[in-house]
Amino acid sequence: MTLTIVLLGAAALIGIGLYGALSQQSFVMLMMGLELMLNGALLAIIGLWSLALGGMPEGQLLAIIVMAVMAVEMSIGFALIVAVYRKRQADMTEALGTLKG
């Protein structure tokens, strides 16, 4: 029962995150959408590991990997935002019709 609710919550977080990632014009808000989707993934992993895997340590490892992915996504994302802003003074997705220099 708890597991179902946790997984439904994870589904909701992924759905909200997808909405944000698709709809937001601002790069930073877009990244928040991506983070929210990863948050949903993290919740699902924690729930499944805790309630359905009998304490298999690899489950925790997967959660650590998701956290590392979040860190990578954040830092590369922000670095790209800075690079694009420096070049184009653009902070919205529409401003990037082209990725050329």
Binding site: T4, L13, W49, S50, Q60, I65, I76, M92, T98
Partner: protein
């Protein structure tokens, strides 16, 4: 008791996640996302994953502080005087979001989920440590190297100084032969549309 708390925290995580895209303040949006992460971390603590849960809180507090500063740096919303709703393909996004949530939810509800909780006496933290530095050492090390590459990549991308001159000037790769025209092509005109007008108000 724990179940009730978990349910409350799941609801709180979803609600704060939703608030991220509904508030008119950059900082509230950021820290709303942080609250969503903290509730997931708290669920981890309740569901016998103390290290993962607390580490999530630690990491997200730092990350969201950085995120908040980037929000203020790059969002165009002076003083929260105007609504922050800046969206495109809104209907499509709503449909995609709802479909994703419903699809995943349906998958959850139609699957028979196994029940095999963590045995009470497991020392999960030391299990995790032995796993990280034992059988899964290669994976762990790969993550470490990836993070190192990320650090270098982030510094290179965001730095102003570049191999071919300042990053904000038109960068020109070197020629294929000495003194020749630059390799590759320069984009015509300026990319991007300028929505920042230089406006000097009187006062």
């Amino acid at each position: 008791m724990i179940d009730a708390l978990v349910i409350l925290l799941v609801l709180f995580a979803a609600w704060t996640g939703w608030r991220v895209f509904r508030v008119d303040s950059m900082i509230r949006a950021t820290f709303s996302l942080m609250l969503s992460f903290i509730s997931v971390g708290a669920i981890g603590v309740l569901l016998s994953a103390p290290y993962i849960g607390v580490a999530t809180v630690f990491m997200m507090a730092v990350e969201m502080m950085v995120m908040g500063i980037f929000m203020v740096m790059f969002m165009m919303n002076p003083a929260g005087l105007n609504p922050m709703m800046m969206v495109h393909q809104h209907k499509l996004s709503i449909v995609a979001g709802v479909l994703a949530a419903l699809g995943l939810g349906a998958a959850v509800l139609t699957t028979t989920l196994p029940t095999d909780p963590v045995p009470g006496e497991t020392d999960v933290v030391s299990d995790l440590g032995h796993e990280l530095l034992g059988p899964s050492m290669l994976i762990f090390e790969t993550a470490g190297v990836t993070l190192l590459a990320t650090m270098i990549g982030a510094v290179v991308l965001s730095s102003r100084r570049g191999r071919y001159g300042q990053a904000d000037e038109g960068s020109r790769p070197p020629g294929l032969d000495p003194g020749g025209p630059p390799a590759g092509r320069q984009p015509e005109g300026e990319g991007g549309h300028h929505h920042h007008h230089h406006h000097h108000g009187g006062h």
